[in-house]
Assembly symmetry: C3
Homo-oligomer: 468 residues x 3
């Protein structure tokens, strides 16, 4: 589905626009010009009209006015349109920018807002906005609004896309664009000079940059454990007993890989925070940057946690269908109270752990995060998060139970998967336990309040750890 | 629960308002008048005070001032209040508008903002705002703010209700209202002349207009398949074997209807996109509107998908309780590796399909959509969406497995439900497969970039497919 | 995880800031001063620069400029910085406020914005802002922005944290701060005099105040029913049959406590609305406040409902793992159609009830609520809510089935848990049934539209039940 399709899909809310019968040109308000009468140009024009601006469309053939253009807008030839306003939105594809060259005179001193995007990164040697500036050197080019769509222009800004980034050389030109953005309900942020334009143009082309590393880690872990378990489980059975249990790949093996990867990812989500605390303890200050690898790791904790939740979700489903399958798992039919306690306990721990897991997942939804105070967010993500890790680790330990010491567990001298995956969470929990002992906790709290070891009096007034 | 109750329920966040001890009348700031001292009038007054306006309430008995009125507001008689400000908010029910008639002199040239709503559509022959204008022809009536509640006024605008729609005859009056709305933190959109007022007044009375068609489709499909399966399954057993298996209606039959309806709805969600692509291919341009039926269909794709997810969710629950029931489904106790592969495979495909389904559902939450870039949204809704359809279709094919060719499957010469429901998704997937073949894909991409067959040079500069 | 950690975690989105190469000081725009070069001070400075302000940092050692300070900002000594601007943001910890005392001359008449927070409630005898005012009596102190974090300053306001609360004595000073807030994209709300500062400072320290009562209720109910069932189930079996079934605590008992607590909490969620309606009926008006206990109860309905959903979710998981456990529940192997109907019916009702439950939960997500109109919200929360209660109550009645009349059910003359938990929902449903009978419904609707019994004509014009 392309963006064009998307705008159709989302346009369910645009039902208001046909209401817009006619908005008479506001007498004293500023005029704004829009070049380009495509989806984006028209939507921008409508929005500008609704915000009280006078709108002039620039067109090659101003007399054959399209019926799609918003009522109340003027249509003029390009030159006349350019002269009628100080601010001109260029809602035209880069390939057609050359039509602006002959207009150089009319565009002199005007503010040109480049709204264009590209189809892929590095499509052109320089940013579209820089190319535009080189074509019309007399004008002040401001890059901006390119993260908006026809859809969001028609429906008004919502939470995440209220933010509009702009850049350009001229402060006055940027101020003028910021003023229009504010009146349209957007919040414009000046990102600096025109050299930033390329980065702004790459924005809408992003494809989950934050998710790449976590996804790679999860795929790598899944593959590694899949082959490890395939050998220990399916190939071992075939080699030693000549039994073909390859069908177990689909459910039994998947149901081992999922919980293993989930638990490892969950501990990878909490490990960097623990490491950062120890680093701060060791350095005795919070005012030095973390090493880059730790920074990057910290930035993808949310993604690690959500992927981990995904694997846990699959694990739950795979576990619950066990009794439906025609091939039942072999089960000891012997009954004794100890086994019953063990079974019910690890299942119960798993359920409680998954319940908390889901709670953490819900709490990471953007609109829920926004409704939380600092302390609430910390409480959920740190306290409840580590409790989840504790419950899931205990669930796995209990699952292993008395098999840890039985030699028959170690086929071909290798430990089963659930033992391997217990290493990391155990380490994280132990380190966290160390951190919350009173004496360590006191030091780390002081450091986070701005205290520095050995340099208490150096620069106290500039430290500002307002948020506990 | 009525709106009044709702405002109570939601008012948990209004805890700040009692803090508001006293805001002295701002010396030079504009004065605004509010007629009506009900919930809405008081909340509006408080909000105006907080934004720095001087507020005058108009009351019949200005001397018996209600203790509920916000501190810092003045209370005057209606006539005096009307004279004290240029902008007057009418927070009074339509039935009481006639008290404004004697005030015609004082209201001359004033801007009256009609905030009223009705209890149901078409309650009155004309819109409240038009009625108000007819009562006070000398004033400039602006309809607006009626989608806001006392609650959202007290708590400030949040994402979806930041948007305020207004309409009216006078551009100046509308500009004045837009200015106040902006200062209160809302984003006002001019919708045109006062004749639009009726549509604005119908807004808060909407009851899921987007969901009606998809709901009807799902109910229709459910009923049709329910009776079809009732005949093939329960009545057939009764007629041919004299067996009463009517109890199977509750779980077994429900568990056949749910997945069938779910799969059909999911393909109905992706079919219009595919049809639209073929239409664009056939027409050779993206600049012609789709037929109305296709447009309407496209606009309810999200709702189709979410209903489909609901049915899939019920299917999962119905499947998972199978082993709990006292009556177990008849099962072949024979074991062979092929059956094991088959069983585990279709279960595993179902689980993965459902996992992706849930992911699609989460991604359609408003706050998550807003956090995605164009490319990310397209990727999830198109690529992952079609992958989900593929997995679920494969799950159903595998479920059918070798029963497709066995004549005992066709009771009374009718195919089982899961075969019928495979037709549509198979067609959608085949068409999609055609669309992603390189040569077709290249053409469709060019069309979406604004290229037109046979009319390449017609009007290139106005085409603006900025978003790929 | 502390706030500092949080800001790191969330800072994944701050990737834009390095782009900010250099913003030349805007020629005519206002200058703003920031004291404090910590995370918060720097982020605030960057944001101010991006919004077009000239920014001057006050530093003890202005010549050793930190590389972390945003490009384009000036750094001066405290005295010089204070003189350069009218508005000074104090992004310094309270402990260091005394450095401002010697600057009293330069700060005379300036607006000081106190952004500070404390580590815990009641850390100091007076609010930080009041302390600041006492140190620098010549300045106008405004408390505000303290709910913002370095993170939200860098990323721009989003839905819930767009709202900024301020308070202070001087109206002019507050207007100046509101103006800056608005330009930064925030929506500032004046909360009154400086005495409100303490409440504003307690804001970020809140830990789920709305959830406390519902959590206590759910814990109390869980504990009570746990011990009740422990006695009836485990201890009874031990005393009368000498059987040790203590292992059943983990799953079987938990799976009885969860649904019981869930159903009671769900009815507690709908009971106050029903009581409020009867109170309005009895009083014959909606214009009198509800008693405090009812108000508090109404305000935590959402939390009661969500906790109830959590328990229902655990109940579903506990039920679904029953067949996985090595110890199967005793089951009658006898088969008859009646039992089959009964079993399948109560399971099916439970599934449908849980499906609606989840729908209610999704609808209570902030971003989903915002997208609903009045009528839609009422419909979901009232109509669908009561339907959910009805389905879940019917599910429990059917579960009890023919055991209600069998004396063997009443071990030690006590009723089983599911009977006890049926009392409350049955009462709520009966009362609701009364309320929706046409004659009662008509009266209640009139009352909610503003009608008052016996006082119809008293003050009709001020009543304003705009929202039905």
């Amino acid at each position: 589905m392309t963006g064009q399709e998307r705008s159709e899909e989302k346009s369910e809310c645009v039902s208001l626009s046909p209401m817009m019968e006619a908005v008479p040109a506001p007498p004293e308000s500023e005029r704004v010009c829009v070049f380009g009468t495509g989806d984006l140009g028209r939507s921008l024009g409508l929005r500008l009209l609704q915000a009280g601006y006078g709108v002039v469309f620039g067109s090659r053939r101003p007399h054959s006015r399209s019926s799609l253009l918003p009522h109340g807008a003027q249509v003029l030839g390009h030159a006349a349109a350019a002269q009628s306003a100080h601010l001109i939105f260029i809602a035209v594809q880069r390939e057609h920018y050359d039509f602006l060259v002959p207009l150089a005179n009319q565009l002199k001193g005007k503010v040109l807002v480049d709204l264009s995007n590209n189809l892929r990164k590095n499509q052109y040697p320089e940013a579209n906005a820089e190319y535009l500036q080189s074509l019309v050197p007399g004008a002040e080019v401001v890059k901006g609004f390119n993260t908006l769509s026809a859809w969001s222009l028609q429906n008004g800004p919502s939470d995440a896309n209220r933010q509009v980034y702009i850049c350009g050389e001229s402060v006055e030109a940027k101020q003028a664009v910021i003023a229009v953005a504010t009146k349209l309900g957007f919040s414009a942020l000046d990102q600096g000079f025109l050299s930033v334009a390329r980065e702004l143009e790459d924005f809408p082309l992003q494809l989950f940059p934050q998710w790449r590393l976590p996804l790679r880690i999860s795929i790598g872990l899944s593959a590694a454990f899949f082959f490890y378990l395939l050998i220990r489980y399916v190939i071992y059975a075939y080699v030693t007993q000549g039994e073909d249990i390859s069908f177990r790949i689909m459910v039994s093996l998947a149901n081992q890989v999922c919980p293993i990867v989930s638990l490892i990812m969950l501990s990878l989500c909490y490990l960097p925070g623990v490491l950062a605390s120890f680093l701060q303890l060791y350095r005795g200050t919070k005012y030095r940057r973390f090493p880059n690898w730790l920074d990057r790791w910290m930035l993808c904790r949310k993604q690690l946690g959500l992927l981990s939740l995904g694997f846990a979700f699959l694990h739950v489903l795979y576990t619950l269908i066990i009794p439906i399958r025609s091939i039942r798992e072999n089960r000891t039919t012997m009954f004794d109270t100890t086994t019953a306690w063990h079974d019910d306990s690890y299942l119960s721990l798993g359920i409680l752990g998954f319940g908390l897991y889901v709670l953490l997942g819900i709490t990471s939804l953007p609109s829920v995060i926004n409704a939380l105070s600092w302390r609430e967010f910390s409480f959920v993500q740190s306290k409840l998060g580590h409790l989840t890790l504790l419950l899931c680790t205990a669930h796995t330990y209990l699952y292993g139970w008395n098999r840890f010491l039985s030699s028959s567990t170690y086929k071909w001298y290798t430990p089963p998967g659930y033992m391997l995956c217990l290493v990391l969470p155990s380490v994280v929990l132990l380190l966290k336990l160390l951190l919350i002992t009173p004496c360590v906790d006191r030091t780390i709290t002081r450091i986070r309040q701005g205290w520095e070891r050995g340099a208490d009096q150096r620069n106290p007034k500039d430290s500002q750890p307002l948020i506990p």
